[in-house]
Amino acid sequence: MIEVLQAGLCDLVMDRGRPGWAALGVPAGGAADPAALVAANRLVGNNLAAAGLEIILKGPTLRFPQGGVVALTGARFAASRSSGMAVPWNETLVLAAGETLSLGQAMGGCRCWLALGGGLATPPVMNSRSIFLPAGFGGHLGRPLRAGDVLASGNLVGSVHLCRARAPSSARDAPLRVVAGPQAGQIDDAGLAAFFAGIYRVEAASDRRGLRLRGAAVTHQRAELPSQGVLPGAVQVPPDGQPIILGWDGPVTGGYPVIAGVVTVDLPRLAQLRPGDAVRFVTMELEAARGLAEEQWEIEDMA
């Protein structure tokens, strides 16, 4: 059980999402870096499909009336415990009954994930506990956490193993790798040159629906496009030429030209981009992109 003493900027209940409903206009959603949430679940002995918290930029203050086994993965945040003990990332943490965990500002990156032994027991909606914020369903009452909220958790199965995880080493400043999008041919040479030579900045108006970028305009011939299916990582070019990278809760259809698609293994990097961060793009061939291996988390027992 978790009592929310103070909410963070936007604390969301997430699991691995709800694929399979796109024909109804509902994107799969789920944790922005599913592997990081899964790693946190493994550290506390949970089923990999268990729900945890996705926390962005400034974290909440949480009380654990019955104590609990928790783990934090993803971006490191300033953090403290009422017991005064350390709050390591990527490790199993055992909290005593009544202990409080306070997360402050992200110290780099944007998002972290918190798993609790037993998993968060919010009611599943359309086969998932993930919140879909744009339509206000799933998660805890279809909204971000607020002070006073109480989240139930499931039962911890088996005994507690203290584990440590090694996060994949991602090249934070490397350009995002993209494959050509379906309308790349409609972008003129100047537009393509701007897109691949430019440094874009993440705008404050970004969220889980999309990362809005500002930089050199991607000039293109405007034409009415029929709505087409899109997915997270698709890079749309609206009339003003400022690209938008669609996020996890983005629309399933869009009418803007799609210049490129961020390769799947680079999508977790989008989760850690914060307003003001620089983004560059580099193109790669589709077959090469398919050959990229997803970077693995390694979990080991703490002896």
Binding site: A23, V179, G181, F196, P226, S227, G229, L231, A234
Partner: protein, 214 residues
């Protein structure tokens, strides 16, 4: 720039990749028929399917590739696929007034009075081409040509749930309140989307719709 082609698939010139997991297949007028085939055949490499305006986006499972069976099904002539027999829904609509603020302007654009516009909108048989924009938002095909109208130059910040609207060649219904750029001509009390229902979307691709003025 070298060659930066349009995400073209090696398999078929009419297919395009949207990222390396999304395969956009041009399906034209046979979009629903193709969708029915894909649903009934349950291809294991497909995680999700998005219907759109004359195309399908197949989202492949991570690491999966297009099987020979799927390739064949996508290339099969549409004559081989069963015709969609969509459920018929009658949607009661209050047209005009405060709940349909764009009706007078649209009637004028169409060169008819509002009563004639309403009759024309309600007389047509519509088919749900696809759902998008919001969960459960139906893009309804079948709008009479005289009623086609461009979207608003600047979107409204707040459109009420149940608003019946015109956007280009489509008519649609907003399931939830929020910003929206379509022209609003009326409102229905029908609940288009409820995630708690066993079938969350009232209208499904291929379903037929008639509007009933009230």
């Amino acid at each position: 720039m070298g060659k930066y082609t349009s995400g073209q698939s090696h398999v078929h010139p009419g297919w395009r990749w949207v990222g390396e997991r999304g395969l956009r297949v041009a399906t034209g007028d046979a979009t629903l028929a193709h969708y029915d085939v894909l649903i009934s055949r349950k291809f294991t490499e497909i995680e999700d399917i998005i219907l759109a305006d004359g195309s399908l986006l197949l989202i492949l499972r991570q690491g999966a590739t297009v099987s020979e069976g799927l390739r064949t099904a996508l290339l099969a002539p549409s004559a081989d696929v069963p015709a969609t027999t969509g459920k018929l829904h009658e949607i009661a609509v209050e047209y005009g007034g405060a709940v349909g603020p764009d009706l007078p302007a649209l009637a004028e654009l169409a060169g008819m009075d509002t009563a004639a516009y309403i009759s024309s909108h309600a007389a047509a048989d519509y088919v749900v081409a696809f759902l998008g924009f919001q969960p459960g938002f139906p893009y309804l095909r079948g709008l009479p040509a005289a009623l086609h109208a461009p979207r608003r130059a600047s979107p409204r910040l707040q459109v009420a749930a149940g608003s019946v609207a015109i956007g280009g060649t489509y008519t649609g219904i907003y399931p939830a309140g929020g910003p929206g750029g379509w022209q609003i001509i009326g409102r229905t009390a029908s609940v288009l989307f409820d995630p708690q229902r066993a079938a969350p979307a009232l209208l499904m691709p291929g379903d037929r719709v008639r509007f009933v003025p009230r």
